[in-house]
């Protein structure tokens, strides 16, 4: 009985939020341009489903492309940093500095280089998603138990052996864990870039709707973003569980 309630809880809470929202808008008689009621947003979603769908696909495309590049780049650089203390010492401060730059500030430069549209969105997604992957992979490699390393080195293991047998498998839970963060960030990057410099994508659509004072459509855009975000996060969480089940011993084990 209890389990059933826990399973239903996410749905109940979501529905509850929308019900309270609807009631509050009705009770306070809020005008639609301040806060549209969920029913207004839903109506807008249906009315504009075609542009919302098209622009969602564009945002999804730039996000996934940027994310894919971040996975490849982040994995390679993470392995390099975790491998060598010299690379770590040299690159880490640079990485911190690079990561502290708000990525929205980079978009104007990208526009100068590549014009507006898909490419700046992909690159922004890549830039923002890249860092957590690097840090997590490098952490996994850098935290090999010294005893384990001694056992293997005493057997004559080379650095490559230790990395292949211990380091890389060991950093995989960190890597797959970081994908959940990275995909969310990549999404943020895409939308930021679309809002500043694009002629398609959900970010662009919301900006256009705002300039026409179509507030329900702006909110419908937000809902579309939330749905996309949840789906991608859930996908990453599923991949994580499938790939590194050994790290989730106990109740969560598939």
């Amino acid at each position: 009985m209890n389990d059933k309630w826990i399973k239903a809880a996410p749905w109940l809470w979501t529905i509850g939020l929308f019900v309270i929202w609807q009631a509050a808008v009705a009770a306070l008689k809020l005008p639609v341009y301040i806060l549209p009621a969920p029913t207004d947003i839903f109506a807008s979603l249906i009315q504009y489903w075609h542009p919302i769908w098209k622009n969602s696909l564009q945002t999804l495309f730039t996000t996934l492309l940027g994310f894919g590049l971040a996975v490849v780049g982040g994995l390679l650089l993470g392995l390099a940093i975790g491998w060598s203390r010299a690379v770590y010492a040299g690159l880490y401060p640079l990485m911190i500095g690079f990561n502290s730059v708000p990525k929205v500030a980079v978009v104007p430069i990208l526009v100068i280089w590549f014009g507006i549209g898909t490419i700046p969105a992909v690159i922004t997604a890549f830039l923002i998603a890249f860092f957590p992957i690097v840090v997590n992979v490098a952490t996994g490699l850098a935290t090999i138990e010294p005893e384990m390393e001694d056992v293997l080195r005493a057997l004559g293991a080379k650095k490559l052996d230790i990395m292949l047998k211990v380091g890389i498998p060991r950093s995989m839970p960190y890597f797959f864990g970081s994908l959940k963060i990275a995909i969310t960030l990549a999404f943020v990057g895409s939308v930021i870039s679309e809002t500043v410099a694009a002629n398609s994508g959900i970010g662009h659509m919301m900006l256009a709707a705002q300039s026409q004072f179509n507030v329900p459509l702006v909110w419908a855009g937000l809902v579309a973003l939330a749905v996309l975000g949840i789906v991608m996060y859930a996908l990453m969480a599923w991949i994580e569980l499938r790939m590194t089940g050994w790290a989730h011993r106990g109740a969560n084990r598939p």
């Binding site: 056992v151 004559g156 052996d161 498998p169 590194t244 050994w246």
Partner: protein
């Protein structure tokens, strides 16, 4: 006289330079082939450093380390090692963990894929020898601490090392499990005849298992006493409750207390 493991006039400083910590100074130790040696001493006396020296993971500033008649210049690969932390890899089954050294040490590494069945059999045999028959397919985190430590011993022995180095392997276990594993260790040594160096805090463990106990001084460590243990083998566990056994433990304890006071 030269033995299987020969440490002569070793001096080793941690941290390098003149202001580093002097860990070992004037250490001499000779261990014969097939002998079971135990090293005891006050904490921080450089016992664990000794293991790294004998396996070639560390080089002394001066003095020589010889293993099997050859001067040690790098990792020796005829050694197996086990620590207090079993450090099993959680993504491998117990059997796969035990077989890990075979994927690294030559000539096994070369032969592993061709003679997989024979090696698997060997690993299974070793597991049953330590009482883990049928647990090979379990993941290490499904085993108790004592069972993990048994698997750890198997991993240290799978490539038939001529030298086994143990650094407090039973330190984290409860008293009963520890006694069980002493007997496992006793039987493994009797069957395989490898040379063993056991570093431990536990004097009863040292006296029960070893042919010779080396007592080290406080830092900088050197050997202050070699004690031959002459109880006949195989030694029953009840031996550890007999008077002459306890006399030796007591005597060793006196030396260590002295070494601590001198520090």
């Amino acid at each position: 006289m030269s033995g299987f493991v020969d440490l002569r006039n070793i001096r080793l400083t941690y941290g390098g330079g003149p202001d580093g910590t002097l860990a070992l100074d004037g250490l001499d130790m000779t261990i014969r082939k097939g002998e079971f040696a135990a090293v005891v001493g006050p904490s921080g006396c450089g016992k664990s450093t000794l293991m790294k020296l004998a396996t070639g993971l560390m080089r002394p500033q001066s003095g020589t380390v010889e293993v099997a008649g050859k001067e040690v210049n790098g990792p020796v690969s005829i050694a197996g090692m086990a620590f207090q932390n079993p450090s099993m890899l959680p993504w491998r089954t117990t059997l796969q963990n035990v077989m890990l050294p075979l994927e690294i040490v030559q000539p096994h590494r070369r032969k592993l894929s061709k003679e997989r069945a024979a090696y698997l059999q060997k690993a299974e045999d070793l597991l049953s020898l330590v009482g883990l028959k049928g647990f090979g397919e379990k993941f290490p985190w499904q085993l108790s601490g004592g069972m993990q430590q048994r698997a750890n011993l198997c991993r240290a022995l799978i490539h038939d090392p001529a030298l086994l180095m143990l650094d407090e392997p039973f330190g984290a276990l409860d008293a009963f499990t520890r006694e069980e594993l002493w007997q496992v260790m006793r039987d493994l040594h009797a069957e395989k005849g490898f040379t063993t160096i056991l570093v431990t805090h536990d004097l009863r463990e040292a006296v029960y298992l070893a042919d010779r106990v080396f007592v080290m001084s406080a830092r900088p460590g050197r050997v202050i006493l070699e004690k031959q243990i002459t109880f006949p083998r195989p030694r029953p566990i009840d031996l550890t409750y007999e008077a002459d056994f306890n006399d030796i433990v007591h005597e060793l304890r006196g030396y260590i207390a002295e070494a601590r006071a001198a520090a």
